[in-house]
Structures are given as C-alpha cells and as structure tokens.
Symmetry: C2
Subunit: 569 residues, 2 copies
C-alpha cells in the first residue's frame, strides 16, 4: 500500500468557484468550513484580512521560532486540503496542539503567507476556543504512513485518514449523483423491503432475521425465576374447581338468593381459568420452539421464516407495473462465506426498473447512468480524485474521462464468445475453457474490457440456462434478453435484463427451472393483470466506487464492512 | 375511509411549466409520460395536433356511440392525472380495453376535446400496439371504491391505486428533498451499517441476524445422507493406523530402500488423517451449536451475536468526528410487538450529525430541514397534495404552508411542564399525570402543538433520568441538552440532542445508568482522542409522510410494511 497520509499539494487541485467573496459559514454551526476558504478559484487569497472561526483536527503540527509559534495543518473533512493555522505560545499549550489528531477550534484572521509557500492563504489565530487533546502514546492513528489494511482494524477512527475521508466524499457524491440522475429522468425512488419472505435467488445464501433466540432466552429466565407448575399444583387447582362446583350446586339446590349464587359462579369461573393457565404454563418448554421435528417459525416475529433481502428487484417490479419508472437504492445482503477483496456480506445496490422498455432501452439507461456518475465525479470531486490518482491508481481520472465521453461497446454473448475463441487461437491462455454456453468468468470479462476494447463493454443475449427465470426468452428460444456491463478494473459492474412479461412463458420457465410456483404467485399476478414489457438492472454501488477510485479492496469503500467473522460496531 | 378511487379534477391542480412546447419523451422508452402532456401550464392544449406514443393502465373505460368507440382514462403513474384516450372499434377489442387494470400502449395524435369537457387535451388512437388484459372476475382491484385497509392485503398491486401511487410520489419527493437539503448544506451521506454488533438502546427489541438455522439444517441433511461414523468405524480406522505403523517399523528395521519407506510413511499419515476426520465428524451434533449451556455464537456468520440496527447515530458519530457534517438515511428496525397505526418493525430514518455544533445549532438545523421538506412538497408535489386534501385530510396543504412559513415555538421542558400544569388547573384532563420529571406522553405533546400553539413546537432540556446516556449533561446537572420537535397530527417527529463530548462525564453517565462499558469503548475513543462538541437528531421518515399527507396509518406510507406476524413479499 502506498503512503496515504498526506493530501496532494494544493497547486495540483482543480479550483472550485464560489458565488461571492464572502466566506460562507457552515449553516448550523458558527465555524467556517475549510473548503469555503481554500477551494476558491484564488485558493483563498482574496479572503486575506477577513476573520473566521475554524474547527478541525490537526494533521501535522510543528513548533517554530524557539517554540514561540505552532504551525498546524488543520483538516475538517469538508475537503481534502488543510488550512495552515499559526498559533502563538501565549494562546495555548503548543506541545499538545501540534500532536496529530488533536481537535482545535480557533478564532483568527486570514492572511497571505510569505511568498514562495505552496498555500495561498493561512490563518493567524487570535484566540483558541477549544482543544480536544490526544495522548500520542495511546492514539491508534499515529502520524505518518498508515496502510489501508492497518486502518481496517479501526473503523471508528479511520475516517480521519486522508484516504478514507476522500472515499467518503466520493461515495457521497456518487449517491447524490444517483438520486439526481434518476429524479431528473422521472424515476421514483421506492424503498423495497430489507426483511423479506420472498426468495429471489436461493435461500442458501440468505441471512435469517429472527427473534426466536431472544424469546427463548426470555422464557428460560422466566422459567427459572418462576418455575412451571408441577402436576401436583394442577391437581390441587382442579380440586379447587371441584369444591367450587359443589358450592354452586349446593347453593342452587338450596335456592339461595341470586347474588349469592352469582358470586359462587364467579368463583368457579376463576378457579377454572386458573387451571387452564397452569396447564398452559406447564407446557412451556425452554429453547427454540419446535413442531413436527422442525423449528416452529409460526412462533417467530413475522410468523414465518424471514430473511435479509438479496435484491429489491422482484418487489420493485410491482411498483414499475403502476408507476412506469422507478428505482431502488438500498442495502442488500449475501451470507456467502467469501473472503475475497470483492465481496461483502452487506453492500448497497442501485436497481432501476423501466416499464414500456426493452433490452436496448435498458442498455441505454445503464450506459447513460454510468457516464453521468463519471462526469459527476469529474465535475464535483476532482480534488479527491486527484488524491486517488496520486496515491492509489494513476489512471483513475483518465478512466473516468474515457468512460464519460466514449460510447460503450455492445456485443452479443455469441459475438463475445467468438472473440474469446479467436483470442485463444492467437495464443491467449484462460484458466476457464471458452465455449458457447459457459458463464463468462472474470478473466474473460476483463479480457474483453481491459485488453480487447479498453473501455466499457456491454454483453447481451446470454444462454438461458445460465440466467434467472425472470429474464425474457428471446425468439431463438436459446438465449434470454440479459445484459452485463463490464468495465476495466472491476469486470461486471451492472447486470440487467428485460423481464419476461408473458404469463405462459414465465410460468413455463419457473417449472423448467424446478422452482416452486407458490412463492411467486404474486409475481405472476403482475403478468396476469395488465402486463407490460419492462426491463431493469442492478449496479453494485461499492463496485462503482472501486472502479472510480482504483482502490483494490471493497472493505475500504464502505464505512463499516461486514464479512465472515467480522461486523465491527 | 373515504373514496380514494378517483384523482382530483384537473382544474384544481397547480400547473407545471415545461421548458418547451415539444413533448419530452421518457428517455429510456419510446413512450411519452402522461405528465409531459397534461402537467403543462396550458393543461396540454398547446400540444393539439402532435403525435405521441402513450403507455399506461386503464383507470376507467366505457364504450360509446353504439360500441363504435371506447373512452379510456389512462394513467401511467408519472402523475396523478389521467389522459383520455379514444379508440375506434376497428383498432382493438374494446370489450377488453375498457376493463379497469388493462394495460395499453397506443400511437395516436393529441386533439382538443369538445368544448365544455374538463380535460384540456385528449388522444385519439391511430394504432393499438399492446394490450395486457385483465379478467375482471379475478382481478383483485375492481373498479370503484377501495379502502386503504383492503389494499393492504395486496401490497404487490396497491401502487395501482390513486392513493398509494400519490404516496409513492410524495415519498420520492421527500427523499430527494432530504438529499438535496443536506448536500446543499455540505453534509456527507454516510451509509451506517444495517447489521450491527453495537446495541444503541437495548437488545430486547432488536432482531437477530443469523445463519445458525440454515447451517443446522444443512448439517442435519448431510448427517442423514452421510451418517456420522460409529465407534466401530473409528476403531477399525485406528487398527489401520496400527497396521500401517507396523509396516513402517518393519521396513525401517529391514533397511528397505528410501522410496519404499517414504511410501509407507505416506500411507501411515493418510491413515492417521482419516482417524482425525472420523473423530471430528463423530462429534457433529445436529441442531443449533451450544457451548457451556448457551448458544455458541462463535459458530455464527459474524462469529458473534449480530442484530439489525435500531439507529445509525452512534456509528455516524464516528464519521462526524472527522468530516464535520454528515447524515445517514437508511432502514432501521424494532422488534416491538406493537400493533398500532404508528409503529413498524422496519422503517426509515434520517439522522444528521453536526460537529462544532450545540443544541441550538441542532434545533436550527431540524427546523430548517422540516421547513425545506414542506416547501419542497408545495413546490413539487402540489397535484398529489391536492389529492390528499380532497380525499384524506382537508387541512394538509395549509399545514405545509404554515410550517414552511412560521418559526417553530421553542420551549424548555420545564416551561412545557408549567404550561401543561396551567392547562390542568384550567380544567384540561390528561390520562397521564403532569409533573416535572415525567416523560411527556403523546397527549401532552399533541396538546402543546395542536391546541396551545397550533404549530410545530420544539421542547428542549429534558430531565436526564428519562434520556439516553449520550446526551450532554447541562450545567444544572439535572437536565440534558435533548430536544424533540413536535408537530400537529403526529406528535414527535424528531428527537435529537447535543452529544456528551466530555470523556469523564460520559463515562460517569454510562456507569450511572448501569450500562456495560466494554461495548462502548470505541464510542469513548471519540471522546478520548480529539473530542469536539457535536449534535444531531433523527427524523422518522414515515412519520414525516403521515404529517404531510394526513394519512392515519403508517402501513400505508411505506411500500412494504413489516409488523408482527406480517412481512408480505
């Protein structure tokens, strides 16, 4: 891992133009974000003489002039760059101030630095309002080079590193760009469920959501504090019922007054209720409830087995068949025991769905969306992208420019296989055999996008046997209207398809694939009643960030990564 | 429930101005969204003579002129309004076409309707390209009045109703407004984890996430197909080891050649491995793994107990202590056995967090955010809000205007209690006693916001004993810097606080409240190293929709509601 402890020099950054020469304050705080000072076209020099309150964390600090001053590089996360702050010894304990990680709030005035320094503006402190100290012998993020691997063990602090804070800003920008793109094009954001009882792709890799364990624990405690009745307890209670019954009979046959009889009947009733309560309680068994040799999920919170969603697609299809253009953007889950740098147990997906659209519309949408994301980063995140280009992946900015500006290659699966076979003939070696019918392996996908075309490639019309039941059968009866968008660095970024809208065909496909029909009855309803052609796709949000930044490990592009054996915080 | 089957008349709708007189197409489909035609300032009349392809679902249809024509009210979800489409009998089977729920795609030309009709434009079909039929004897959503209660049993179809599709557009608008507001103010969107091992407010009400059941099932099947070895099997395998060992000894003492010895050693090694495999397998127990009388969570996917998050606050605090202004917007979960119209097991929360901010900044942010949402709906969703005003809650638009334009009342908790006590003196009856120290009940909150002030009220500085450990202790040592935003119709919409940033104080508070310190060590780190004052709040997204629309039941404002016993799809 390269050094990720310092931001790129200011003169390499693209400047941001702000609306006016006044310094915009953070609206819900009395400080000025550092971004508002240094990310102006003039680098902040036009603000010399103005007063500002600044808050942030010391990246590096040093004492100078025989400890008369401290020079602090202060960062507040609003941008990658730091503001240099000069503090006189009379204002604060400079020994604490210069330590990496210390938080500082100062009032000061902006001034031009001496000629020949890199920065265009600096702050001379007039008053130190707050210091949040750090004990450098204990602080987990010491000054200097810290690898991404090292930072993964401190997910609660790693956003203080330059790399992870840059990722956070890029991730935010891509999320906002996503909402902007789809809203601009008339798509409605639909929150599909996280807890689901529909199984899109096989329950084996799903997490189960349950309250059975906590219920069992609660019951276990309860039975210890309050042991269940013994048989003798129940017999005794039954005896009371018998006695009370006799009292009622006696009073009745003695023609006692109504009030007396009614009181004795009430007592009998209570005694009977007591017996049923005791009998009920005596049946309580600690542990997970079971019935007929299986876990009894009717006792679970949702009265059936429930899982974490693996995709919002099926559910969002119910909305597209009414609202015409929709998308979902939310967390999805896979309980795969996968320890690679490309897999997470919890990750975010963007899934648009378009009615009155076919596979070509779908590809057009996917291409336009990815281009939009790339252009957005170039327009809004160039400082952070420059950091990535300097520290992580030299080519990342050029890659964004290329993708934003050139049309994607489109190949049918059959053509793709022919190209791969051709390459094999010319001596290219693949680990996985190439022939019509295979699922393209990552090496094949990356050959197409990285070697053969060196830009994004959309492969469409895949063999039906390697794709899901809901993908629309083509007229050749051999392929389905599926498409994958492949990009350099990452391989598959997007998978999508035109959905099978013909009731007879989809029913047949469900049977062919040996899936149970019953769980899909609601999905078939969408084809039974007012069916329309529609298409959609899913983009793995973290993969998009890997593609954009050139980072290698998916655990570094989500704030709190979850994978086998690990779910910190 | 009032009738929700028909949209408001077109002349009551606020007009939308489109950029040009050309009809904007849906970009990734060849149809024109109905919105682009009828939601113009001129109601579409300026488009007369133009050709358009339209797709949608029939809301109502009728045959006319002795079955020579059908008049269809077509809706595509792009807006609340329908487009009237006229189809000649020669073009299609009109009997099918007029049935509610049928999908239709037509090419046609726009024309001015006869004078005196409500709509400003209609479409005369030239060609019917697609019909998705409906069998009215089976279609679950017949023409006519359908209550929201009825629709809840058909979550996969209910977005076809006017009410639920209006909610979907309002929900989308509020989500987009949320991202717009926070991005505009320099907040970064942070995806806090859904699966968490931190417990923010007590594990009792958390869902557990596990793979133990599926693992147990897998193992059970495996043990049936492939029974574990018996003791005899293991003895036999041990005998083989003994034999192989003897062979090795014999060969060695016979000074056999190296190759022979090495081969026999290999065989011995294999035999030994076989024994350990068999012994390992003989220990396999079907069922949930247990250790020391408890469930053994080290065998679970994350190697410990994991839950669905109840709030992203604690985790997002780790990001604010580096990035200064952040927010999260995602699903949260409560396993409460609550069957009310105000509770869901899965709901969405918006949680901003601001560094270098105190309680007043927090209140300013909350007020600005809620005002922004209200104004956004007035600016962008007036047609759907008009539907709500007509069918659900007369006052909803006025309420939005009031909230958007007038400052919120701000009261300390102590003042609020005084006002409530005063009202009790004046004869007001509450079910829950009013005195300093109580947690305000919903009836108290609604009295303040609905009766006393008739606008949003922020109550702040609550008694510390009724609030969470992380809220900042005030100088009076009796109250904490917490605040709730109360709004008419809903009561508590937002809860927030300034967070305790002082290490000693928060550690003391954790102990006072008898919480274990160890799980919060990472949270304490944020106070140990470079601590800064910060504040934040949470807005229940569904509550905001209830407030805006006046709908009564929270199950109607989320696409796929989850509550005890129910998780459809």
């Amino acid at each position: 891992m390269s050094d990720i402890s310092s931001p790129p020099p200011a003169d390499q950054l693209a400047a941001v133009t702000l609306d006016s020469d006044e310094i915009p304050k953070a609206e819900f705080s009395d400080r000025v974000p550092i971004q508002s000072i240094i990310r102006r076209e003039d680098g902040g020099s036009g603000l010399a003489g103005k007063k500002a309150r600044i808050g942030g964390w010391v990246k590096t600090g040093r004492k100078a002039d025989k400890d008369a001053f401290a020079f602090l590089e202060l960062n507040d996360g609003s941008c990658a760059g730091n503001l240099q702050v000069i503090v006189e010894a009379s204002l604060s304990d400079l020994g604490q101030l210069v330590l990496t990680g210390t938080s500082v709030v100062v009032d000061g005035h902006l001034k031009l630095p001496p000629a020949g320094t890199k920065q265009k503006i600096e702050l001379r402190a007039d008053k130190v309002l707050h210091v949040g100290p750090v004990d450098p012998s204990k602080y987990p993020l010491p000054k200097g080079r810290l690898t991404l691997e090292f930072l993964r063990d401190f997910v609660h602090l790693r956003s203080r590193s330059n790399a992870i804070s840059a990722v956070a800003r890029i991730r935010n920008a891509l999320a906002y760009a996503t909402h902007t793109f789809f809203n601009k094009h008339g798509f409605l954001y639909v929150h599909t469920p996280i807890v689901t009882t529909s199984d899109c792709e096989g329950a084996g890799e799903m997490f189960q959501v349950t309250t059975l364990f906590s219920e069992a624990e609660r019951l276990e405690k309860d039975l210890i504090q309050n042991p269940p009745p013994t048989e003798a307890d129940i017999e005794a209670a039954k005896l009371v019922v018998q006695e009370k019954g006799e009292v009622v009979s006696q009073l009745k046959s003695a023609k006692a007054n109504k009030k007396e009889i009614s009181a004795s009947v009430d007592e009998l009733k209570k005694a009977k209720e007591n017996v049923s309560k005791l009998e009920e309680r005596s049946k309580l068994q600690p542990g997970i409830p079971r019935k007929d040799g299986k876990v009894d999920y009717t006792k679970d919170f949702f009265a059936r087995q429930a899982f974490l969603t693996v995709s919002g697609q099926l559910q969002v299809e119910s909305y597209v068949c009414a609202l015409s253009s929709v998308y979902t953007f939310g967390p999805t889950f896979r309980a795969e025991n996968s320890h690679t740098s490309r897999h997470l147990a919890e990750f975010w997906m963007v899934e648009p769905e378009i009615a009155f659209a076919d596979l070509e519309d779908d590809m057009n949408c996917a291409e336009a969306y990815v281009k939009f994301l790339c252009q957005w980063l170039l327009d809004n995140c160039l400082e952070d992208m420059q950091f990535m280009a300097d520290k992580i992946d030299k080519g990342c900015i050029d890659r964004l420019k290329l993708v934003a500006s050139s049309p994607f290659v489109r190949l049918s699966y059959t053509e793709a296989v022919e190209i791969l076979e051709e390459s094999v003939k010319n001596g290219k070696k693949f680990e996985n055999e190439v022939k019509w019918g295979i699922d393209l392996a990552s090496e094949h996908e990356r050959y197409l996008t990285e070697v053969k075309y060196q830009k994004p490639v959309i492969v469409y019309n895949y063999p039906k046997d390697i794709k899901a039941f809901y993908m629309r059968l083509n007229d050749d009866s051999k392929t389905v209207a599926a498409m994958d968008v492949l990009v350099p660095k990452v391989g598959e970024l997007i998978g999508g398809s035109q959905r099978e809208e013909r009731y007879d065909v989809i029913q047949q496909r469900i049977k062919e694939m040996d899936l149970p029909v019953e769980p899909y009855e609601w999905y078939l309803d969408l084809r039974r009643y007012g069916t329309v052609k529609h298409a959609g796709f899913g983009l793995g949000f973290e993969r998009m960030i890997l593609f954009a930044t050139g980072l290698e490990n998916i655990r570094d592009v989500i704030p709190f990564p979850r994978y086998p054996g690990r779910a910190d915080l």
